[in-house]
Symmetry: D2
Amino acid sequence: MSSVFGNNIKVSIFGESHGTAIGAVIDGLPAGEEIDGDELAAFMARRAPGNALTTPRKESDTPEFMSGIYKGKTTGAPVCVIIGNTNVRSEDYKKINNIPRPGHADYTARIKYSGNADMRGGGHFSGRLTAPLCAAGGIALQVLKRRGIIINAHIVSIGGLENITEENVKKLIESLDGDSVGGIIECSAVGLPAGLSAGAGGIFGLESALSAAIFGIPAVKGVEFGSGFEGSRKKGSENNDAFVIKDGSVVTATNNHGGLLGGITTGMPLVFRAAFKPTPSIALEQDSIDLVTLESVKLKIEGRHDPCIVMRAAPVVEAVTALVLLDTMHGSPERKQYGFTTNQKRN
Amino acid sequence: MSSVFGNNIKVSIFGESHGTAIGAVIDGLPAGEEIDGDELAAFMARRAPGNALTTPRKESDTPEFMSGIYKGKTTGAPVCVIIGNTNVRSEDYKKINNIPRPGHADYTARIKYSGNADMRGGGHFSGRLTAPLCAAGGIALQVLKRRGIIINAHIVSIGGLENITEENVKKLIESLDGDSVGGIIECSAVGLPAGLSAGAGGIFGLESALSAAIFGIPAVKGVEFGSGFEGSRKKGSENNDAFVIKDGSVVTATNNHGGLLGGITTGMPLVFRAAFKPTPSIALEQDSIDLVTLESVKLKIEGRHDPCIVMRAAPVVEAVTALVLLDTMHGSPERKQYGFTTNQKRN
Amino acid sequence: MSSVFGNNIKVSIFGESHGTAIGAVIDGLPAGEEIDGDELAAFMARRAPGNALTTPRKESDTPEFMSGIYKGKTTGAPVCVIIGNTNVRSEDYKKINNIPRPGHADYTARIKYSGNADMRGGGHFSGRLTAPLCAAGGIALQVLKRRGIIINAHIVSIGGLENITEENVKKLIESLDGDSVGGIIECSAVGLPAGLSAGAGGIFGLESALSAAIFGIPAVKGVEFGSGFEGSRKKGSENNDAFVIKDGSVVTATNNHGGLLGGITTGMPLVFRAAFKPTPSIALEQDSIDLVTLESVKLKIEGRHDPCIVMRAAPVVEAVTALVLLDTMHGSPERKQYGFTTNQKRN
Amino acid sequence: MSSVFGNNIKVSIFGESHGTAIGAVIDGLPAGEEIDGDELAAFMARRAPGNALTTPRKESDTPEFMSGIYKGKTTGAPVCVIIGNTNVRSEDYKKINNIPRPGHADYTARIKYSGNADMRGGGHFSGRLTAPLCAAGGIALQVLKRRGIIINAHIVSIGGLENITEENVKKLIESLDGDSVGGIIECSAVGLPAGLSAGAGGIFGLESALSAAIFGIPAVKGVEFGSGFEGSRKKGSENNDAFVIKDGSVVTATNNHGGLLGGITTGMPLVFRAAFKPTPSIALEQDSIDLVTLESVKLKIEGRHDPCIVMRAAPVVEAVTALVLLDTMHGSPERKQYGFTTNQKRN
């Protein structure tokens, strides 16, 4: 367990919410990939706080590239991206230092790191660390899009409500009164060929790689592919997807398998859902304890917090998915087909 | 993606359903651990087919140890365990060679391996590969139990029915008439201390490691920790677990977090659920295609198949969980506390 | 540190010299590769003991494949190869159990594994473990040869003598009188294109991967590429290799760089040398101690031992090199060029 | 192959010689370690250019910490260290863009990265990248020193001259007249206990881990442990190290094994040597080709270059060694003994 993931493309995430900067190093990107800065900024804006429905905290979150990009293209060397922490109000967090916030990593990090973790604002476990994930994943999304692979995440439910309109979300959030809600995000990737998994594949396939990465997004507590948990309640005859020919290609009539059989893509859309718990930071009074005196205390979390991070989480899910899929294709026998640079020559 | 998992304890799974043998190499086990052969056999019997409710196929599945165990104890060198494939009836599978079975890896493996995969009986993707997982995990369970860590998986639902008695399971299965059902298994680990994750922890914590491994079990399509998907429908005030003092220790009043915050153990029981899809092998007629002629065909799968693998999957979930937790403890700063052998000496 | 190596092709070595069996699992081999059993047997015979110059101990060392090969071709699933330990005379080793043999891992393994290591015959640290390395590497050699890449290791010196004929070796070994000699092996790989390193390459390139693997061969204490240690004594003007055009291709006039610049192949032959220490098992009396009584003892090692393992080590170096290069090509953007199977298809 | 190394402590190196910045992320450092900034600066100054004997190029090379250090101590979260590139004169390199410099990665990187690599000043393959290695390793050295482990690298030979005094070095370098020299550095680590290797150890032990990392230092072309290549010319009776008791402890009378048997420490000083090729950048005219026209050209490298980087390389070798040893101890069953923080608690 670490803040590094990936096999052929390794992403190393660093930073603490109220430290100097957060960022990522992406090692193993193919060379010669154009990076569209505006597109990246627009993508990161989807994650950024500040719109009406989410936290009023304003972060500029402009990614600065230290390396790996030259004349607008990837060089093949590791890309380091840095995002400064400029809008930090640590005093909001100071007084609750010995009182772990329910649902946060305050207590577990305190024990694991013997009190040395910089947990101001959630420290390294803050949702703020999803910004470098988006910067790294935003690059991967551009590389994939260029090869016809489109990744899209959307909200399935918020606070238990499904098919939910923006108007309804607004009402729901206004009604929370200091409380918070979670939700479910569904992500799909289309344009993947059949037969894709990294290396020679095996027992631990794409579901393993994707779930490991998605569970790294703060607040994710569940991941399911295709019909997932609901599928476990069906009969085999209902859940199996019949193979059919459509426009001369092998497809399945339904997609309960979520685009993966044996951890390998079928060519159908890859589909999974991630469950986000409600934001643990709520303005309501909660029961906790003082870890020094071991006395019960009533805790009221001050500061500005998102009553619902689900809207902002959609691009994060896309970003992480893109990194895993790019890593998979990079480590795949079939990657030439995607047009990755290949210039070896025999003498 | 491969058939190897783990960081400090690496498990390499091999074998095909109808090949010579299946097995596992477990690299990195601590030395000096007594292995109780009877206990291991009893554990593996829970997974073995042959009881009334499951497949009539009889497998002896006796694990033979090639290395790493001497005088009944682990030596510290890699343990290789082999399970022969003795009861193979390949002819059952021969006729459907060009017709991919819905819900199986036949189609994806055919493409990925260019028709070279030995897919008789599901090949390397067969549920039979859970036998070496159990042999490897059975050792890990013994090592953990000796240190006060108990892992237990039980059935939460089968075919959508919850709180289900053995009598009901029997009735359900008898009523299937060639169809199949899936189900949900819940697994818990008690006895873990607070503050546990591998290495220095980080963004990709225990949920990541566990889910990656659990999704490697054939037929798993969903994993959730604590309140999981249901928790995403709650309010923060409902889902947050209050910290309280009980018998002088820090615990939480509820366990919606499933024992993990920030990917690190809280000391509460670690709890997760895995969704198993219904067995894709059913006796009912299904739509598929002939991959050579690209014509639609009606497929009827012959042979003996489990109408429900959920009962047999519980020990597999325990086994995989044990391997991940042992790996975690092994790579943890705190592992001395568990009494692992440590004999270095300074001159 | 473990007995597993490789990134996209992972080789897991297991077994102890006097245990039930030794072997290897090779995870990640490309599918559809024909394996010539006779060629593999002939290759392994080069490593086997029993010829006039080396140990009289006879081992059959016939590799048995448990998985991953079907109808003479790789299936894409992990290959497990087992070699039984049939000719074991443990009594030779019993009496010196508490007396560590100089130059062996007896002492260090005893401490690390708290006395639980099965060190009969050197246990997991025995040179015998090079047999599964050869079985695994023998497969890799065939895969590479099919793609025009030829790996060849030869003896540079034995006992300090260079350009040494077989006649001289014979004389040298006969003159040893219970003592032993080491030597230096040079290995080259021709047919590699320019521009090869795994993934996106980086600071830790092919020298890193190769040396890590080669140092895993028992008795290797040094590795150098190209002009190596001798090159460090030259001037830049002498050691730099001029770029020239030859037959329309870019080559270098000399090959002091050993085929690697920046950890990436230049297209010139990849050349490195490995230094093997003299066999630590000698028939002469040596000073050691009894680890129980801590008293000084005179140790005389009984049993049959190679006075020089260098001849038998050449195929081992080839095998390990082949595994590293195949792994490199497998994880390389350029691998399509080598004709690896690639059957993904877009719908 | 990548710019990431380590297992439990992962170091990710980034940056290009003439890009915005170079740096490193160190993931997995133990928490609560005090970092002495003055000591780190003094250590890095040993590597910095600017003294009389080496390059006149002046770099400030002040490391700035973005994360992972709070109140002067490690937090347990990843440490990111950045070093700005302030003194860049790219024009020196521009004119030779299509003419690969002999002994450099210009040609191989050009092919591998299809001309997209930013190779100004050597790009990601520049010796400048040893600065972040030193920043990362400087932290590791402090952590190890606190536990009684001292790492020291010194020059064994320069330009083929051994036992060389500073006066002689000065004379040698002044006499080079545009040419360059290489050399050999010996590194030792004392204070290591017997029985140390990461995890359960195995065939690929400390020599493998150390050599892989050391070969990542630019210009290293050889690594040998203990008597190394010279040992391969000895007899077993000469090269074996007798075990003796000294002051009540088990030691060896000599140290030809370099502190490692079976890839595990013996408790004797760990000793290895690294061969550095002569600096490939020389002021003398060299033969090369124009990669566009494929015509032969005479190349004369302008700009400021070290005629000998061996003096500056000693701290780099120490830094890399410290990172590998800290990683080893971190992943070792025995790490508690070293006083690493451990605060897990059972409820």
